[in-house]
């Protein structure tokens, strides 16, 4: 018998039913969405839970809604759905670009945005794109819903601000409006490769001056990070070559990169600066 067959997986048909299961300590199970992280972890020997609660295909988690100034993306939306959802491409281009680089077609068809965020891998590709939107996460439990700003959602290495009885329902992401966005990922190969460093940016320029700047990096630190020092340097300024040089150096000076099997801290420090330069030179 294969290891995953030992898990008692329940298949609630509605969010309310799932929240009810998660509310009790004796009925709660590990949340299972597309399984592209969990099934791999279980297959490669991580301890399996006694129970799991499948939230794949829950209708309440599957929608993308366009509002006047933000987009609400359900936690169960797959990377393939984001990649193909043409009406949102101009509002959240960095997120769409990030989703389109995850794994390859087979993984995109099953991997969800909620799973990518909750898995909280430093290398999760959608995190920097979510961060630069300045949006928030909607969590539900049987006792109600709550909103957490994305820049406080990833609290430590592989930790998120979510209680054991909570399910991520959606992401509320401000539309980019007149700002420009960019997403770049550096890995060993284009497909199926875990990122060494990736960057997302959302920068608004009015009459030649930067009026707002959000730049985030992933795979650099234990959590995805915003480069607030670089952002403050840019706001109010004209994007001259000298300012871009300064931004690149400041990024390199302020990141606190990790060293791991995928890349060295030195390389990541250098690449962080280059990605900031790339974002500013390609607005």
């Amino acid at each position: 018998m294969k290891i995953t067959e030992t898990i008692d997986i329940r298949f609630p048909k509605t969010l309310a039913e799932a929240l009810r299961l998660q509310a009790g300590e004796k009925t709660r199970g590990q949340l299972l969405a597309g399984g592209t992280d969990l099934m791999v972890q279980w297959a490669s020997g991580a301890p399996t839970p006694e129970r799991a609660t499948s939230i794949w295909n829950l209708p309440e988690l599957d929608a993308i809604e366009i509002f006047d100034d933000f987009i609400e993306v359900g936690a169960g939306v797959t990377h393939a759905f984001l990649r193909d959802a043409a009406p949102i491409h101009r509002h959240l281009p960095a997120l769409v670009a990030a989703a389109a680089t995850i794994g390859a077609a087979q993984i995109q068809a099953r991997g969800t945005l909620g799973g990518n965020a909750a898995n909280a891998s430093p290398a999760g590709d959608t995190a920097p794109a979510l961060l630069v939107s300045g949006g928030s996460v909607l969590l539900a439990s049987r006792s109600g819903t709550r909103t957490v700003p994305l820049d406080r959602f990833w609290t430590a290495y592989r930790r998120i601000d979510a209680q054991p009885d909570e399910i991520i329902v959606a992401f509320r992401l401000p539309r980019k409006g007149s700002a420009r966005e960019r997403f770049r990922k550096i890995g060993t190969r284009r497909a199926q490769a875990i990122s060494k460093v990736m960057a997302a940016s959302r920068i608004r320029i009015v009459k030649g001056r930067v009026t707002s700047a959000a730049i985030a990096l992933g795979s650099i630190a234990p959590t995805p990070v915003r480069l607030s020092a670089v952002e403050s340097l840019l706001v109010g300024q004209k994007l001259t070559p000298a300012l871009i040089d300064e931004a690149e150096q400041l990024a390199q000076a302020t990141v606190q990169p990790i060293d791991d099997i995928r890349s060295s801290a030195d390389y990541r420090r250098w690449a962080s600066g280059r990605l900031v330069r790339d974002a500013l030179e390609n607005l």
Binding site: T4, I9, G35, M39, Q192
Partner: protein
């Protein structure tokens, strides 16, 4: 551990499924239904050998617990694809281009090629590379596989 009772449409046929909810789709196909054209290599979603089509999307069957597929799910495996016109065109092109060496990756390659050509009948070379990026081959170096998909695309009927 709960036992599933489901009916899926596998290669166009209605099939009753009885299995533990956590059994991988791959094992249901190979062990329960005898559809051994679908291969297992890594068992971790990386190699694409186990690719099948579920509700029109290519997926890796080693990462899907059977319980997540409701009644009426449409599954297409290599055994079903080789009975379709596009599937036969792809197979013939693979043979003619010498795109097959040991052959272990090939069912997955054919399934991904089929999924690609159904969505995009005139794929560019980058689009073919992207469509097959989730399928690894240790033998061929991919060049002939990409040529084969091009050849199959060129032979597709002009309109469907």
């Amino acid at each position: 551990m709960s036992t599933l009772k489901r009916t899926w449409k596998v290669n166009g046929q209605t099939v009753p499924i009885r299995a533990p909810a956590g059994r991988r789709l791959l094992d249901v196909l190979r062990d329960d239904l005898g559809l051994v054209g679908t291969k297992e290599s890594c068992g971790e979603g990386e190699c694409g050998a186990c690719t099948v089509i579920v509700d029109n999307e290519p997926v890796v069957s080693c990462l899907i617990p059977a319980g997540q597929l409701p009644d009426g799910t449409a599954i297409l495996t290599i055994e079903g694809i080789e009975k379709t016109r596009i599937g036969r065109l792809i197979q013939r092109a693979f043979l003619e281009c010498g795109a097959v060496q040991c052959g272990f990756c090939i069912p997955g390659m054919v399934v991904s090629s089929y999924a690609l050509l159904v969505k995009n009948p005139r794929p560019s070379t980058p689009a073919i590379r992207e469509g097959l990026a989730g399928n690894l081959c240790r033998c061929t170096g991919y060049t002939k596989i990409i040529q084969a998909v091009k050849l199959a695309a060129a032979r597709l009927p002009k309109r469907k």
